[in-house]
């Protein structure tokens, strides 16, 4: 299969600064992370040259989370460079690093909110980086902070919950709070690590719609780890596939055929997306006769 590469993909020519729309390029150069003897991310290189919504897929352990966490500097990289605007963000330290973290907001699978704080405070935490330590220690936020937090919440349709504690919300609402917090950081990009993996279908849709909307309206990069192929196909402009730490696929969502997916997931012929949660072809599970997933038929009581 010609579109698989088991090593790093060839480097795309480097753009010097912003592109036409004042947009900055982000370049991954042989980014590598090893945990002990295990290489979680292996010489991954690719560029994002315009504000895309990028989906990263791959089976559990492929290195998706690690890659995202390296961008946000939550996990230190072992080797390689990530250049933003020509500057290597992997070498930033102290205040500069925290500044960068503010600039690339992260949304987590488990939301990573502070459950016991109320929603609006959680959102305002996105502004901590700009605040003096003493002021923030005493829980002092300005009225302007409150207003923008409410604005962000409103945009995600959950301003009504602003005074509740985060832990009192449903998963979907919590994830929207997390996105609001990310918006509050006013970041260059949003990194989302399986943002819908703990959500039910209804909430998942709401959250993905919200991310898409942010991408479209604010023209921000959104990089999104996903574990369901169809979500990637539905929402993303570009899909990156990872397997065992390597980047093994990079292309338009349309290019993501069943065969490609099997390759990415390292599954054999018996692997059947439909059986679990994705939707490519009609599922044929083991010895079952017909699941008829694709063929709606009349139901009888």
């Amino acid at each position: 299969m010609s579109f698989f590469c088991n090593g790093p993909v060839a480097l795309v020519a480097q753009h010097d600064e912003h592109n036409g729309q004042g947009w900055r390029v982000i370049q991954f150069q042989e980014v590598t992370k090893t945990f002990g003897s295990r290489t979680a991310v292996n010489k991954v290189s690719f560029n994002i040259e315009k504000p895309q919504m990028v989906g990263i897929i791959g089976r559990s352990g492929a290195g998706k989370s690690t890659l995202l966490r390296m961008i946000n500097r939550l996990t230190p990289a072992s080797a390689g460079q990530i250049l933003f605007d020509g500057r290597d963000i992997l070498s930033l330290k102290g205040g500069m690093m925290r500044r960068w973290q503010r600039d690339c907001a992260m949304v987590f699978q488990q939301f990573n909110l502070v459950p016991r704080l109320d929603v609006v405070t959680n959102v305002m935490l996105g502004r901590l980086n700009g605040h003096g330590t003493l002021k923030s220690l005493f829980n002092i936020f300005s009225q302007e902070d409150v207003n923008s937090a409410l604005g962000a919440l409103d945009r995600l349709g959950i301003a009504q919950e602003a005074t509740k504690r985060a832990e009192e919300l449903s998963g979907g609402q919590q994830q929207r709070v997390a996105i609001a917090r990310a918006l509050m950081q006013d970041p260059h990009m949003i990194l989302a690590d399986e943002p819908i993996a703990s959500l039910d279908p209804m909430n998942a849709k709401i959250v993905m719609d919200a991310l898409r909307e942010i991408h479209e309206r604010d023209n921000k990069i959104v990089i999104c780890n996903l574990h369901t192929l169809d979500t990637a196909r539905t929402y993303c402009d570009r899909v990156i596939g990872m397997r065992d730490g390597f980047l093994v696929f990079d292309g338009a969502p349309e290019a993501l055929t069943t065969a490609v997916a099997r390759e990415i997931y390292g599954a054999d012929e018996s692997f059947n997306e439909a059986a679990t949660s994705t939707a490519i072809d009609a599922g044929q599970s083991g010895s079952r006769e017909s699941a008829g997933a694709m063929t709606p038929a009349a139901a009888a009581v």
Partner: protein
């Protein structure tokens, strides 16, 4: 941007108020605490206390606990010299074998305190030569002391009183003269006589000598082997009383272990009676809880004082006091742990058709076992400390020994010795219980 729903709408003003109130609280609470502390600062009279504090006592205490002094005393009652470590009867030098910095000749003596400091005792007069100052002369008379100083104002390390002369030019050299005696103190570092008593044949031997002796077949004492002789001499050391101290330590540990185990033994079943999810009867629960409160609320120490009448003096009283109090504490803790168990596990076992006891055994016990073990071990460690305290005020053991050496201020090095031992034991118990905890809960 108000979103209208049926609930009270969340407005900007509302949220802003809430945020401001929270900020206000975060500022006010620490301020209130600070104010309270300032109030107590004055209520307890700390400033006055500080002005009266005697830091020099701490210095004396600190030096005394790492040093010992040798008293050279001339008593006019019998006109005899006596050279003794800490002035103790059990550690008195034979006047023919005094240390070489003391020279005695009948009525007179010379004490060389080093670095040019010298005390000459001539009948009822002591002459203290102090380099850089001169000679201080003190004579004991029938009703007091006559002092002659070099010219000039007296330095503050000389205390002159018609009844007593006290000269202490350095921390480790001191002369006192009263109408009844002349006393010179010479200080040395270390714990003298720690290993063997002054009069023991083993006194002053090095470890290698002792080792050789222990292996040798020439018996020091024909009755016992050398090893036993050495151990015995060590334990019977009259100044340090290692034997007594170790017995007391053992008593203390025994109190803690017995008390804690007993408390755990009674606390666990009672805890089931106090847990909401195991005992539906409100009355029973209430009764058990109040029993716990009662047992806990009266302190261990008070229990031990109450028990002295019934059970007399000794470790049993202490162990029972600990057992009583901690049945309350552990019972309460266990019942809370029981109320917090994860019902999923019980349900999983229940769904297999297990009966009540089996559900407890596999659904409940594995869950509270870690809490049980870790709390019991934690209390074991903490009770070792408590046992020293109740021992000090009633039940015996190392605590009693400690308080008495401290109260009579006999020798701070003895006190420090006991303190150090106590702390080592507590730390050991702490580490052991931590180790056991890890072993039992995480390991296996």
């Amino acid at each position: 941007m108000t979103v209208d729903t049926l609930e009270t709408p969340v407005t900007q003003a509302l949220v802003w108020n809430q945020v401001r109130r929270r900020a206000w609280l975060t500022v006010v609470v620490p301020l209130a605490i600070f104010t309270y502390l300032v109030y107590t600062w004055f209520a307890f009279g700390v400033p006055e206390l500080l002005s009266r504090a005697q830091p020099e006592r701490a210095v004396i205490l600190a030096t005394d606990s790492v040093a010992y002094k040798v008293h050279v005393t001339k008593s006019f009652r019998d006109n005899e010299f006596e050279v003794a470590i800490e002035g103790e009867r059990t550690a008195t030098y034979d006047n023919a074998k005094v240390p070489d910095w003391v020279q005695l000749s009948g009525e007179n003596g010379v004490v060389d305190l080093g670095d040019g400091y010298r005390v000459e005792i001539d009948g009822r007069t002591a002459l203290f030569t102090i380099p850089g100052y001169g000679v201080v002369e003190g004579t004991a008379t029938a009703d007091g002391v006559e002092t002659v100083l070099p010219a000039g104002p007296a330095p503050d390390w000389i205390k002159i009183d018609p009844r007593k002369l006290d000269v202490r030019p350095t921390l480790d050299r001191r002369l006192q003269v009263t109408k009844t005696k002349i006393e010179v103190h010479n200080y040395f570092g270390g714990w003298e006589n720690f290993w063997f008593p002054f009069r023991s044949p083993l006194y002053g031997m090095s470890f290698s000598q002792l080792y050789a002796l222990a292996l040798s077949s020439d018996r020091m004492d024909p009755e016992t082997s050398n090893i036993w002789f050495i151990v015995n001499e060590f334990l019977e050391n009259p100044d340090w009383q290692h034997g007594k101290v170790l017995t007391a330590l053992f008593e203390t540990i025994m109190m803690a272990v017995l008390g804690t185990l007993t408390a755990a033994f009674f606390g666990l079943p009672l805890a089931f009676l106090a847990a909401r999810n195991f005992t539906p009867s409100k009355l029973l629960r209430f009764g058990t809880r109040r029993l716990f409160d009662f047992l806990r609320g009266i302190d261990m120490l008070i229990w031990s004082l109450i028990f002295i009448r019934a059970f007399g003096l000794g470790p049993l009283t202490g162990a029972l006091a600990i057992a009583f109090t901690d049945t309350g504490s552990l019972g309460k803790l266990f019942s809370e742990a029981l109320e917090n168990i994860d019902n999923k596990q019980v349900e999983g076992v229940r769904a297999t058709g297990a009966n009540q006891i089996q559900r407890y055994r596999y659904g409940v016990i594995p869950q509270i076992l870690p809490v049980f073990v870790s709390q019991v071990l934690y209390y074991l460690e903490s009770n070792t400390r408590s046992a020293t305290v109740i021992g000090a005020l009633g039940a015996g053991g190392i605590g009693l020994l400690l308080v008495e050496t401290m109260k009579t201020s006999r020798d701070w090095e003895n006190t420090s010795y006991i303190i150090i031992l106590t702390i080592i034991v507590v730390i050991l118990m702490d580490q052991t219980s931590g180790w056991l905890r890890r072993k039992l809960i995480e390991g296996k």
